[in-house]
């Protein structure tokens, strides 16, 4: 694989992440990839397959089993001038590093009066759907919003995965990259592997519609699209917006849609209470108050852990539950 290409070719989300990391490592000697088992074996999901062989174990580092230590050392590396890409094996194991992400990496710039900064990428393989049980199926993105200081990117297509990884590595501040594990190999799409970053802070109108707006991100994007397609047959014209980045979120695109449809359904896999949907609802009921015909609906997992044997089927929101919420948004009467 070469770093820069001109012709489009197909890649899965997993291949796209691998290609973007390869590009970053090959074009910038200050980039390092570190985490548990990311080296020779290419990570437990194989997202870094071949990288240690090509780049060497000095910059593709198998670390001790210590999430806090991994992130904390990456913070030091970033302070000195490297751009670490940190892989957390599963997002459910990121919590040990919470202090170092939110109260060190995210705060060195401010706490040092702007003298130091921590450009780093924290990869959080997220969401359920692989029969992983609670700790291997977590949605943790909402924890990284309150108090601020971290940008949050949630790719759900191969091209987004590629360009968001590039953008995250180039960003001057810490970025949480929420990787959609169930989508790693789910689809393949064509794009030019040209090393070009995405523009952080832009949502994508995945499907235009006039009646109701679905705001979603990550693994719920495909579910939302299929719900919208079914709803079209009922005559409900649903606009689907993939937020893509949670911090900062794309208020123009969101508001334009909400002012047009006056109906909103927010969909995420993370549990309901203080999930990102809460912030969206709070902001929209204020900024679009006069436009809302019906209450903003939230579709989310319940506030309980992800169940091993029935979680994928019953806990994770699906197109069916999204459709019910959209119908509520359409039919609501008071």
């Amino acid at each position: 694989m070469v770093a820069i290409e001109s012709k489009p070719r197909k890649a899965t989300v997993l291949e796209a992440i691998n290609a973007a990391m390869a590009h970053a490592l090959e074009t910038d000697p200050d980039v390092v990839l570190m985490g548990q088992d990311v080296g020779k074996a290419g990570g437990i999901f194989r997202t870094s397959t071949g990288l240690s062989q090509r780049i060497g174990s000095k910059r593709v580092i198998d670390t001790p089993l210590d999430e806090k230590g991994i992130v904390a050392h990456a913070v030091g590396m970033a302070l000195y001038g490297l751009k670490p890409i940190v892989e957390i094996q599963f997002s459910g194991f990121i919590h040990d590093a919470f202090e170092h992400i939110m109260f060190c990496a995210a705060r060195y710039r401010w706490a040092s009066g702007g003298q130091y900064s921590c450009p780093m990428v924290i990869r959080a393989p997220s969401f359920g759907g692989i029969k992983g049980g609670f700790w291997h199926s977590q949605s943790v993105e909402a924890y990284y919003v309150h108090h601020g200081g971290v940008k949050i990117l949630c790719p759900s297509t191969p091209e987004d995965a590629y360009r968001m990884m590039i953008a995250a590595v180039q960003d001057p501040d810490p970025v949480l990259l929420v990787e959609p594990v169930p989508l790693y190999r789910a689809m393949s799409a064509e794009f030019v592997h040209d090393g070009k970053p995405t523009d952080i802070g832009r949502a994508e109108v995945v499907r235009a519609g006039a009646d109701v707006t679905i705001l979603t991100y990550g693994v719920m994007r495909p579910q939302s699209i299929s719900a919208a397609e079914d709803l079209a047959e009922e005559g409900i014209d649903t606009e689907v917006i993939d937020l893509r980045t949670l911090i900062p979120y794309d208020i123009e695109t969101i508001l334009a849609s909400v002012q047009k449809t006056g109906r909103v359904v927010i969909v995420h896999e993370a549990p309901l209470s203080l999930g990102f949907g809460a912030e969206m609802a709070a902001v929209l009921q204020e900024k679009a108050f006069g436009y809302l015909h019906t209450p903003i609906q939230r579709v989310a997992a319940p506030d309980v852990p992800y169940h091993f044997s029935i979680g994928d089927e019953c806990y994770k929101p699906d197109a069916h539950r999204i459709k019910l919420a959209v119908r509520r948004a359409m039919e609501f009467e008071f």
Binding site: K68, G69, F93, P302, I310, L324
Partner: protein
């Protein structure tokens, strides 16, 4: 305090190196004395004259071997069940039978155990029925964890076995805190916890050993040094020659034992348990090897040589124990064949019974969040069940 390079080099043979690490594969158990690894028997089942034979009756010895074989048979079956798509996931324990069964044997049944995820042996030693284990492997509703947890992440309060919360090592200070609590309450309960070489890198290991040094709770820490943490060799996990010596940094009694020698594991664990009320915690490094894949999602050929695995084969705890029993005239080919037949039959029955059991009801996802669910959870439960209904 500064450690001389020589002694560092000396014991380095014990370290697993990554695939291109260079050192020709050798089994450290072959150099047990030099590496400070306590033993009762060698690869051939002969007494090495280090630790004395523990006083276990012939029946106990036979029963213990039979247990280890059953545990091995469960691993074989779990593997094939996963490969044939009947079990979602499997975490092998092949090669670790001695550590789990012998350490558990060394504790009393009302002592508490905090478990990792390779421990069918520990569960069986505490009398948990096969059917219950397989119900857990199949994610069925009617087992103590109600089908909520990954296969082999087990526990059963009736057996005083606390299930882990999945993060490796996080439960080590929980075990230490529970032991401290028993000491505060004046109870006689003692505590045992197992964790791996990789787990020692986490802050929890540091917290637990540091608190244990200061407050001397009756807990035995068993570090299963099985050479690998997924694809990471011990040489990338820490710079020390051994995991036991880490105990010195906390004033904690520590030692190394041959983890594939059932008699040695029993002896040193029993001693640590007996000393616990007086001396507090012990850290036992059980030098063993993960003969199988990390999990069914793993591919060891990416990171370790087959020669390394082969070097450990002759040190299989089952082979060694069988040879020891045979030498004592307690075992023969007939009993071996009969035992495997019984294990197969019992497992067949357990698989059949477990697969026939129902999966959990969605409503049960909401149970056990709080002692009494909040109104918010009840509202979410009602809505979710309605929505699932309407599918």
């Amino acid at each position: 305090m500064a450690k001389d390079k020589a002694s560092q080099a000396k014991a380095a043979g014990k370290k697993t190196k990554s695939i291109d690490g260079g050192t020709p594969p050798s089994c450290p158990l072959a150099r047990a004395q030099e590496l400070n690894i306590r033993q009762v028997i060698d690869a051939e089942g002969n007494l090495v004259g280090d630790l004395p034979e523990p006083d276990l009756s012939d029946d106990q010895l036979r029963a213990h071997y039979e247990m280890m074989v059953l545990v091995r048979a469960i691993d074989d079956r779990g593997w094939t069940l996963q490969r044939s798509g009947r079990v979602e996931f499997w975490i092998p324990h092949r090669g670790l039978e001695a550590v789990h069964t012998s350490a558990t044997l060394a504790f009393d049944n009302d002592d508490w155990i905090f478990l990792g995820y390779r421990h069918p042996g520990t569960m069986l030693m505490r009398g948990v029925p096969l059917l219950q284990l397989f119900a857990q492997f199949f994610g069925r509703a009617d087992e103590p964890l109600k089908g909520r947890r990954l296969p082999t992440l087990m526990g059963d309060r009736r057996a005083n076995i606390v299930p882990m919360t999945t993060q490796v090592g996080s439960y080590v200070p929980h075990a230490c805190g529970a032991a401290w609590a028993a000491k505060i309450k004046g109870d006689k309960t003692r505590f045992l916890t197992f964790f791996g070489d990789g787990s020692t890198s986490r802050g929890e290991f540091h917290s637990a050993l540091n608190f244990a040094g200061v407050h001397k709770p009756p807990v035995v820490f068993i570090c299963e040094n099985n050479g690998w943490a997924v694809t990471t060799p011990t040489s990338l996990q820490t710079a020390t020659d051994t995991f036991a010596e880490k105990g010195d940094a906390y004033g904690i009694r520590n030692l190394r034992v041959d983890g594939n020698d059932p008699l040695a594991v029993y002896a040193v664990t029993r001693e640590a348990r007996d000393l616990a009320p007086e001396e507090g915690a012990s850290l036992i490094e059980a030098v063993t090897y993960r003969m199988g894949y990390h999990t069914t999602s793993d591919n060891p050929d990416l990171y370790r040589t087959r020669e390394e695995v082969a070097a450990w084969e002759p040190w299989c705890p089952l082979i060694r124990m069988r040879k020891y029993l045979e030498k004592r005239g307690l075992w023969d080919d007939a009993s071996e064949a009969d035992l495997w037949a019984r294990c197969k039959a019992d497992i067949d029955a357990a698989v059949k019974g477990a697969e026939a059991m129902p999966f959990p009801d969605p409503s049960t996802m909401f149970d056990d969040t709080f002692a009494e669910p909040t109104w918010m959870l009840e509202e979410q439960r009602r809505q979710l069940l309605e929505e699932l209904e309407s599918r």
